[in-house]
Symmetry: C3
Subunit: 315 residues, 3 copies
């Protein structure tokens, strides 16, 4: 799609430029030939350094664009991005390269490996596993039955993923019309799982909108955990069963989250923080410690609160 | 099974009527040839208009039956229904009609399509997908790997269901004996998913006991969500990850439920209501607004409560 | 592996004994030829009666060992056990005995049955089901599509397991290094599911570290429930959707747990106890009753607390 066609499709003012746009990306990650967008003014400063060829943004911000970057003016940039994302969505099976399977790797009969997949040595890919187009898997990996890995995801060495877990499903992102309808923001990123990660059964890890959702080296994730798009789970972090991370949460290394705990989106948790079972994090945590409750507080304060409530009950 | 055989099987008083009973249904939905039941007096008024051929009910209610409707008297009508439901349960594979697959639809090799299935045009049915007997699927649907759709479910156009999700599993319903054993109420209904719905990964949507669990047009459901039997999710509603709806919850249109929120069963939530993450609804909500907490309250009250608790902590 | 090799591998003091060690087990369950361990002083009294051939334990406890039992001294016994567990882990497919399938049992085409499996009569094993090595299944069992059963698990008669559920995945157990890395404790136990159990969709039940996770006769488990390693769920207990049991929880018979409720690990809940939706149990419950809240309290106290909080809001 050329830039003038995009402007036409989005209903923006006409543009003379006919360069071919090859993809969409964030302001900081976009490169030449890509289109980006500004839908939240907190990313304004990234506008100044973007290498995107064009940016979708409201008219009030177009003067901030660096020279040579073309503005596509939209008063609803997020909706424009959602509408456009469908045209840059990758199709499910789009490679002609036969999969490459390393020495000593065992594929069970009813696994399904798409083209473009590259699997290392001594892996066990059990029955019902699906590996999407261009998935890359390291050495000594075990994927238990009925694991699904969506296209483009990358899995390191010695990773173990238990049955029924889904890696790289679409993040939950929509633009909303005035009539209350939801327009899907197609998720074009992937999931990267580093070495020595273990993931339990029936867990779900969504792919990033752009870029990667990342599970860093040595992290251990239990059953039925939900990890939203663009999260970063730090090295050696531990997520106990039924925990949920909303989109774009960033956990430092060795964070421990107890069972049924959760974070809101777009926040950062300091390394070595411990979150008790069922705690709910709604703001970033800058200082490591032990936290509990919802709203979240220091664990010792939470204990004090419970003691006060117990006394209140006696009165 | 004829009516006299049913009476005999349930240990009810003998009945002379030998009509063939073709199925079980609720009082309001039953038609001629079906048997219904009254297990909760709040449905008494539906007794007056039922078109069922016979009704299982306690002796104290049998005088309320319309003329021509036969009473099967049971002092434990719910248990009688559970015992009888096994005999009307549909078998897993019971159609001789080969599946019908629309033009442009791609079936992956290890998908399994039962007889009686009807799939529209341009669908993608990926590996490990199971479609039960008589499932109906519209056009342009994507079912990602390892999705299971139980028999009789109906899926509209442009629906996208992510990997590992289960549509139409049995609702969680039992009658209880005095010895504490549980007798399964076989679930004979289905799930209906309307157009433009998207459902995340490893979510579960149970079929109805009778009738349908319904996900209306344009609703968006995230990963690891549980939707109980006979729920109705309104148009364009949004259910964020790890949310749970107990049986027979009805959500109006554009209801938003935050992550890990939940509803109790048999309640109604007004259109355009927003429920914050982790809120727990135990009573119907008649007025739209923003609600939080468990027990549920208006969000601004919840904020006030948290402020008061924080002050209490300081004292 | 002989005992002297184990001592060498773990960096313990040299041992002259060359007996072949056949497996690892708990102090109370170990038999001759097996190695056990003491990693928590609360199990000290089990030391006195162990029939293990050798025990890994700190030097301060070695004098407690019965005569003839050899001490492997380690100041980090849990880490030693984790390191050693990898060498006793069973491989995924290790039987040469072709599966035995009872009369009237139907296997769907893309199910995968490992060697050593034994299935009874009149079962339905649907598409995408995986049965690991040496799994034993009784009569009249239905396993819905994409159910995974890991090796060695035992399933009784008339059990029904809904789609996507995982039985016998590894429990979540690790020893931690001083650098914050996690060393997997390989889980060598199994899951035993007794007669007449029904399990919902996308639920996960982990195998035991040693011994068995047990779901007793007639228990009913809903969708998306998590049951940790070594739990025991009592006869006719009911676990509603999204409930989580941490490892080694023991539920008496007819315990009812409402939706999204949970227990911490290593606790016991009295028979006939009812836990309201969302309750969180952190201590054992000795007396049956109805409990709510987190922290847990008697349900009537919880109601009183909510009333007091409501009054506080008005002031």
């Amino acid at each position: 799609m050329t830039l003038n066609e995009i402007a036409l499709f989005l209903g923006c003012a006409e543009i003379e430029n006919h360069i071919e746009i090859t993809g969409m990306n964030t302001l900081s990650e976009a490169s030449e030939g890509e289109i980006s967008f500004l839908s939240d003014s907190k990313y304004e400063k990234e506008l100044l350094q973007t290498r995107a060829s064009a940016v979708i943004l409201p008219s009030s911000k177009s003067h901030l664009l660096p020279e040579g970057v073309i503005a596509l003016v939209s008063e609803e940039p997020y909706m424009s991005v959602a509408l456009l994302s469908k045209y840059f969505a990758k199709s499910i099976a789009s490679s002609d390269v036969p999969p490459s399977i390393g020495e000593g790797t065992k594929l069970y009969p009813s696994s399904h490996i798409e083209n473009g997949v590259c699997i290392g040595k001594n892996c066990t890919i059990m029955s019902g596993v699906y590996l999407g187009t261009d998935v890359v898997i390291g050495d000594d990996v075990i994927l238990y039955p009925n694991v699904t890995v969506y296209r483009d995801c990358v899995i390191g060495n010695r990773v173990m993923i238990h049955a029924g877990t889904v890696i790289g499903s679409d993040g939950f992102g929509y633009a909303h019309t005035k009539l209350g309808e939801h327009v899907k923001l197609y998720q074009n990123g992937n999931v990267v799982i580093e070495d020595d990660v273990e993931i339990g059964a029936n867990t779900t890890i969504d792919c990033a909108v752009f870029g990667s959702t990342v599970i860093k080296k040595g992290a251990k994730i239990d059953n039925l955990v939900q990890i939203g798009h663009n999260c970063i789970v730090g090295e050696h972090s531990i997520l106990v069963s039924q925990t949920g991370l909303a989109g774009s949460s960033t956990l430092g290394r060795n964070v421990v989250m107890g069972g049924q705990s959760a974070t809101a989106g777009h926040l950062t948790i300091a390394p070595f923080t411990t979150l008790a079972a069922r705690s709910g994090v709604t703001k970033s945590i800058a200082t490591k410690g032990v936290y509990s409750g919802f709203p979240l507080m220091e664990h010792k304060l939470w204990l004090k609160l419970q003691a006060k409530l117990a006394r209140m009950l006696e009165s």
